[in-house]
């Protein structure tokens, strides 16, 4: 009985956090790209455009939902739903931290722990293809169809190297459940090198990590693999014919997939919520340090503001950051928050790489994409898997 309630609560929390994450991820992306390209980025809505996501949401909701006349209605409606569905389901399999005790209830920071979680995630993300493909096909438009076919082909072909890149660390971690694989990465060599799978013997999984991230880019149709929505070739790819909320759904799905991929990368390769160096060397004071420094930066900027309203906003942020920093010092809360911090830090780092790359790299040509998948990614993953299994077998 408490199980169900507990799951509901956890689901609620996850959904809330996830939604905000997605919304603000987009803001972050715009900001980062802007700064990479020496622009300012959104700044009208709210301080530093912090309310931009909200504005976008409102815009998307209130926009006219126009339904093209030539589409194949049921599938046209079904497509974005599928896309979001299969993008969000994996979230409930991902653990964000270890066990916790809240108000005497002992539970895990995870909606549900399936013993074959990684496989399920693979399957579900693979089914994300349907949304895209169906959208492309249902909207009865050659650009959309092109986009849909491209994306399905691309996803299928990149699923192989991804699966193989996943298989390699699994050989070392020797489990399929996320929780256990994170536990298998606990501890340190010589007391300071973390036992994450990218460092872990017998064969450090750095290569498979790189392969996985690349394949992840392709899976999520991100630059440089965003062929399905190559503006200059096919107007907007599979969601050409979609507007307002349905478009938003695809958008959300894409970001959700990004989050999923980075979470899985964190769990598989970066040791989940385990700290970069042992708490004995004060790793648990890192968040306090970071947030403190951030607060100080805010205050220092507030002294001589670049923009008039910075005089008000920056101190507010500084105070907020200080509060957060303080919260991280409270032992019980710290015991809850530290894993979240590390997890978020790692996942955020990978997400940042996503954005960074998008700001940096041009787009592949389609044949190059496939060529890359089958002639580099696949053999590389295969060789990597081979060596890993060889070394595992030898030890």
């Amino acid at each position: 009985m408490p199980y169900i309630v507990l799951s509901l609560i956890k689901t609620l929390i996850v959904v809330l956090i996830l939604m905000h994450t997605l919304a603000y991820l987009q803001w972050v992306e715009r900001k980062v790209i802007a700064h990479v390209q020496l622009r300012v980025g959104p700044r009208r809505v709210g301080p530093h455009g912090l309310l931009q996501p909200l504005a976008d949401v409102i815009k998307l909701i209130t926009k006219e939902d126009m339904l093209p006349s030539h589409v194949n209605k049921p599938f046209y409606f079904l497509a974005p739903f599928l896309a979001v569905l299969f993008a969000l389901i994996p979230m409930c399999l991902i653990p964000y931290g270890g066990d916790i005790n809240v108000f005497g209830i002992h539970t895990t920071m995870q909606v549900t722990d399936v013993s074959v979680g990684i496989l399920l995630v693979l399957g579900l993300s693979g089914m994300g293809v349907y949304g895209v493909a169906l959208a492309g096909w249902a909207s009865n438009n050659k650009y959309s169809l092109m986009g849909g076919l491209r994306s399905s082909a691309q996803m299928i072909s990149y699923e192989l190297p991804m699966a193989m890149a996943i298989a390699a660390p699994l050989l070392i971690l020797n489990t399929l459940s996320f929780r256990h694989m994170v536990d298998a990465q606990a501890g340190f060599y010589f007391g300071f090198i973390p036992k994450w799978s990218i460092f872990q013997g017998p064969f450090p999984q750095i290569f498979s990590f790189i392969l996985f991230v690349i394949a992840g880019f392709a899976e999520t149709n991100r630059v440089p693999f965003d062929l399905p929505e190559a503006e200059n070739e096919l107007v907007a790819g599979f969601h050409t014919e979609y507007s307002s909320m349905k478009f938003a759904a695809f958008f959300m799905a894409e970001y959700a997939n990004m989050v999923t991929v980075s979470c899985i990368a964190t769990l598989l390769f970066l040791g989940g919520w385990h700290p970069l160096w042992p708490a004995a060397y004060g790793s648990s004071f890192l968040p306090t340090l970071i947030f403190g420094i951030t607060a100080l930066v805010c205050f220092s900027h507030a002294v001589n503001p670049a923009r008039p309203f910075d005089r008000i906003t920056l101190p507010v942020f500084g105070v907020l950051f200080l509060i957060i920093a303080g919260v991280y010092l409270v032992p019980p809360v710290q015991q809850i928050l530290m894993p979240l911090f590390w997890f978020g830090a790692k996942a955020g780092g990978i997400l940042f790489v996503f954005i960074w790359i998008r700001a940096t790299l041009p787009r592949f040509r389609y044949d190059q994409l496939m060529h890359f998948a089958w002639t580099f990614m696949f053999p590389a993953a295969l060789i990597n898997l081979f060596f890993t299994s060889l070394l595992v077998a030898l030890t």
């Binding site: 399920l120 693979g126 349907y130």
Partner: protein
Amino acid sequence: MDAVLFLVFAVISVACAVNLVLQRHPIASALSLVGVMGSLAFVYLQLGGEFIAAAQLVVYAGAIMVLFVFVIMLLNEGKERKQKMKLWVRWAGVPLLFAFFALMALIVQAILPPQANVKFGSFTAGNAADIGDKLFTRYLLPFEVTSVLILIAIVGAIVLARKELD
């Protein structure tokens, strides 16, 4: 509780299957088949087949059906034209079908007393470790043979589907 879960997914799968048969559009059939597979995956989970459930999603729903959808889109044949069936099919088909089904149900009831209950989680041998263990010890030869079969299938598919060099 188990019964409820089972009934939910059973109903979904049957509905999807019926839809598969009745829909005149291949895409619709394909999607409903995906539905069947998904719900069957959960039924497997209930029966303790975690690995099989995952494999069902990955292999069937994730790969095979994607292939189907892909091909359907590629050909883009549109709806199946209505056309009057052959006589015996029209008259004998459905009764035959139901006779078939009734017989199967009859046998099931005959060989399995309804008291054999399935409790979720009471069967644990279905996890990946055990399956893999058995797969690579006792069923090693079939496993390898299937891999060869897959290879042959790939080659055959390529040979069949590639453009004739003219």
